[in-house]
C-alpha cells in the first residue's frame, strides 16, 4: 500500500531564496500529521508542492504513489489553500456543486447537505459567499476539500480565521476523518490544535525538518512536581520512575503528600526549543 504522502529530498528555490532544503516526510494511510514552523519555514511551499500547485526544484512528492500534480494524484486529493476565495456570487451549495462536477463526484445533493452539516453550515446552504463571515468561508473551504471523499487531505491553515467554536468543529471533523481512515497533512500555527489531533508532528525551520515524531515523543521529561503540606515543590531531572521513591521519602520525613505529577514539556516548549524563538 503506497503512503498517502511521500516526500523525498524535496527542494524548492524561488530566485535567491531556498524555501525547502531537502525535506523528507511521509503521511501513512489514515494518519494525521501536523506541520509546524515559523512564518517562512517552507510549510505552505511543501503543501503546495504536494497539491501540484508548485513545481519542486529537486526531489519528489507523491500522493498515494502518484507524482504530485498528476491526474491520478489530484483524483485522490482534497486541498484547502491558506489563501483562497470562492466567487462571491456563488451560494455555499453552488460552490460544492461546482467542485463536485470538477472532482467527478456523484454524491449529488445528499453529499452537499452532509458536508455543509459537517462544517456547521447547514443553515447557510443558499447564502452567497459574499454574505458569509471569514470563518464561514473557511468552513466552506474545508467542506469543499472533502468533496468526493478524497483519501488524502492537505489542509493549509484551516482554522486561521475561525473562532474557538469553529476551531472545535474542525477539530472534531479531523478526528472523525481519522477514524474513517482519511490521511491528513495539517499545516497550522495552533500548537494546541496540532497537539490534540495529530498522530505525528514535523517541525520545519528554514526549509528543513528539525524535529519529527508523535507529540508524546517530542515531549521531554521535565521533572516531578510534589504537593505536600509545605507547598508545591519541583524536582527537576526526576523521572516517572522516581515518583514512588520521592513520595515515600516525603512521607518518611513526616510530610503530608497531597499530589504528585510527572512534568513533561508541552509541544509549545518543544517547538520553541526547536525553532529557537525564530519568527519572521
Amino acid at each position: 500500500m503506497p503512503q498517502a504522502l511521500a516526500v523525498r529530498g524535496l527542494e524548492k528555490r524561488y530566485g535567491a531564496v531556498q524555501a525547502l532544503k531537502g525535506v523528507d516526510l511521509a503521511v501513512e494511510e489514515g494518519e494525521l500529521v501536523g506541520l509546524l514552523g515559523p512564518n517562512g519555514a517552507g510549510k505552505s511551499t511543501l503543501v503546495k508542492i504536494a497539491a501540484g500547485l508548485v513545481r519542486p526544484t529537486r526531489g519528489r512528492a507523491e500522493i498515494a504513489g502518484s507524482p504530485a500534480g498528476s491526474p491520478a494524484a489530484r483524483a485522490c486529493l482534497g486541498y484547502l489553500a491558506e489563501l483562497f476565495r470562492f466567487p462571491g456570487w456563488y451560494s455555499a451549495d453552488e460552490v460544492l456543486a461546482l467542485h463536485q462536477r470538477l472532482a467527478r463526484s456523484d454524491g449529488g445533493a445528499a453529499e452537499r447537505k452532509r458536508l455543509l452539516e459537517l462544517v456547521a453550515l447547514a443553515d447557510a446552504t443558499d447564502r452567497r459567499v459574499d454574505g458569509m463571515s471569514k470563518g464561514m468561508q473557511q468552513r466552506l473551504g474545508v467542506a469543499q476539500a472533502l468533496v468526493g471523499n478524497p483519501p488524502v487531505l492537505l489542509l493549509d491553515e484551516p482554522t486561521s480565521a475561525l473562532d474557538p467554536v469553529g476551531r472545535r468543529t474542525v477539530r472534531l471533523l479531523l478526528e472523525e476523518l481519522r477514524e474513517r481512515g482519511v490521511s491528513v497533512l495539517l499545516n497550522s500555527h495552533l500548537l494546541s490544535e496540532i497537539e490534540l489531533v495529530c498522530d505525528r508532528v514535523a517541525i520545519l525551520l528554514g526549509g528543513e525538518v528539525v524535529a519529527a515524531g508523535s507529540p508524546g515523543e517530542l515531549s521531554q521529561p521535565r521533572g516531578i512536581e510534589l504537593e505536600t503540606d509545605e507547598g508545591v515543590r519541583e524536582i527537576p531531572g526526576a523521572s516517572r520512575e522516581d515518583a514512588p521513591r520521592l513520595v515515600a521519602e516525603a512521607v518518611a520525613a513526616g510530610r503530608k503528600v497531597y499530589g504528585v505529577r510527572v512534568l513533561t514539556s508541552t509541544l509549545e516548549e518543544t517547538y520553541l526549543e526547536a525553532v529557537g524563538g525564530e519568527t519572521s
Binding site: 483562497f84 470562492f86 462536477r101
Partner: protein, 285 residues
C-alpha cells in the same frame, strides 16, 4: 466534456457578475444607435453629394463601404474590449485572488482549464461580433439599400481576429498581472491598427519602406490582417475611382490578404494557445 462546460460556464457566470456584459451591451447599443443615425443622414443626403461631372464615383457604394468599414472597426474594438475583460485575469489575476488554486487541484488538468476558459470566451465573443456585424449590415441595408459583395466572410474574419486576441490575452494572463496584461493587449491592438493605417498611407504614397513595415506587422499581428482582409472584401465591388478613393481612406482594406494570411492566422492562434498551455503548466501558483 463536463469539465470543459463547467469551467466555461464558470467563466461566463463570472463575466456576467462582474458586469462585463452590461458594459459592453450599453456601449454596443450606443454605437449601433449612432451608426444608424450616421447611415440615416448619409444615405438621406446622398443625392446632394455631387462629384465633379468628369469623374464617375458610385457614391452609394462609397458611402456604404465606408460606413460598414467604420462599423467593422467599432465591432472589432468592442469585441476586443469584451475579449480582454473576459480573459485578462484568468491565470495571474485569479491566482492572486485565490480563486484559481481550488480549481487547479481538481483532476481537470491545467490545459483543460485554460482551453475551457478560451472556448468559453471565444464562444461569447464570436456570437457577439457576428451579432453586431449582422446588425450593422442590416442597418446599412435598411437605410441605404446597400449590401457588400461578401457578407459572411468579413464577419468571420472579424470574429477570427477577436479570437486571436483572446488567445494572446490568455497567454499574457499566465505571465503578467491583470493590469499589465490588459495594458499589453490593448497596446498590441493599437499597434496593429496603427500598422494597418500605416500600410494604407504607404500605398497611397507608394513608400516601399512603410509598406514593408506594414506587411511585417500584418504577419506579426494577424488579427489586424484579418480585419483588413474583411474590409477588402466589403469594398470588393468598388472599382475605378470609387475603389481608389476607398483605398485611400482608413477602411480601404488589406494589402496582405487572402488565404495565406488566413491560414497563418489559424496557425498563429494554435501556437499562441500552445505556448499559453505550456507556460501555465510550468507556472507556480
Amino acid at each position: 466534456m463536463t469539465a470543459v462546460l463547467t469551467i466555461a460556464g464558470y467563466g461566463f457566470r463570472e463575466a456576467v457578475r462582474r458586469k462585463v456584459f452590461a458594459v459592453v451591451i450599453v456601449l454596443t447599443a450606443v454605437f449601433l444607435f449612432l451608426f444608424w443615425l450616421a447611415n440615416h443622414f448619409v444615405f438621406d443626403q446622398l443625392g446632394t453629394i455631387a462629384p465633379p461631372s468628369d469623374v464617375h464615383v458610385d457614391t452609394r457604394t462609397f458611402a456604404g463601404a465606408f460606413l460598414l468599414g467604420l462599423a467593422m472597426f467599432a465591432t472589432l474594438f468592442l469585441g476586443v474590449v469584451l475579449a480582454v475583460f473576459l480573459t485578462l485575469g484568468v491565470v495571474s489575476g485569479d491566482a492572486e485572488r485565490g480563486l484559481l488554486q481550488p480549481l487547479v487541484v481538481r483532476p481537470v488538468g491545467r490545459a483543460t482549464l485554460l482551453l475551457s476558459r478560451f472556448l468559453g470566451a471565444a464562444a461569447v465573443c464570436i456570437v457577439y461580433v457576428l451579432a453586431v456585424y449582422g446588425i450593422a449590415l442590416g442597418i446599412t441595408d435598411a437605410t441605404g439599400h446597400w449590401t457588400p459583395p461578401a457578407v459572411v466572410a468579413p464577419g468571420l474574419e472579424l470574429a477570427g481576429g477577436v479570437v486571436i486576441v483572446i488567445a494572446l490575452s490568455l497567454l499574457g494572463s499566465v505571465v503578467l498581472s491583470s493590469t499589465a496584461n490588459g495594458i499589453a493587449v490593448f497596446m498590441l491592438f493599437g499597434a496593429g491598427l496603427v500598422a494597418g493605417l500605416l500600410g494604407t498611407i504607404g500605398h497611397a504614397l507608394n513608400s516601399h519602406t512603410i509598406k514593408h513595415a506594414s506587411t511585417i506587422a500584418a504577419w506579426a499581428l494577424p488579427f489586424e490582417a484579418l480585419y483588413q482582409d474583411g474590409l477588402r472584401l466589403i469594398s470588393g465591388s468598388a472599382t475605378g475611382l470609387t475603389g481608389f478613393l476607398l483605398q485611400l481612406g482608413p477602411f480601404g482594406g488589406a494589402y496582405v490578404h487572402g488565404w495565406p494570411i488566413r491560414i497563418w492566422a489559424a496557425g498563429y492562434l494554435v501556437i499562441a494557445l500552445l505556448v499559453a498551455v505550456l507556460a501555465f503548466s510550468r507556472r507556480d501558483l
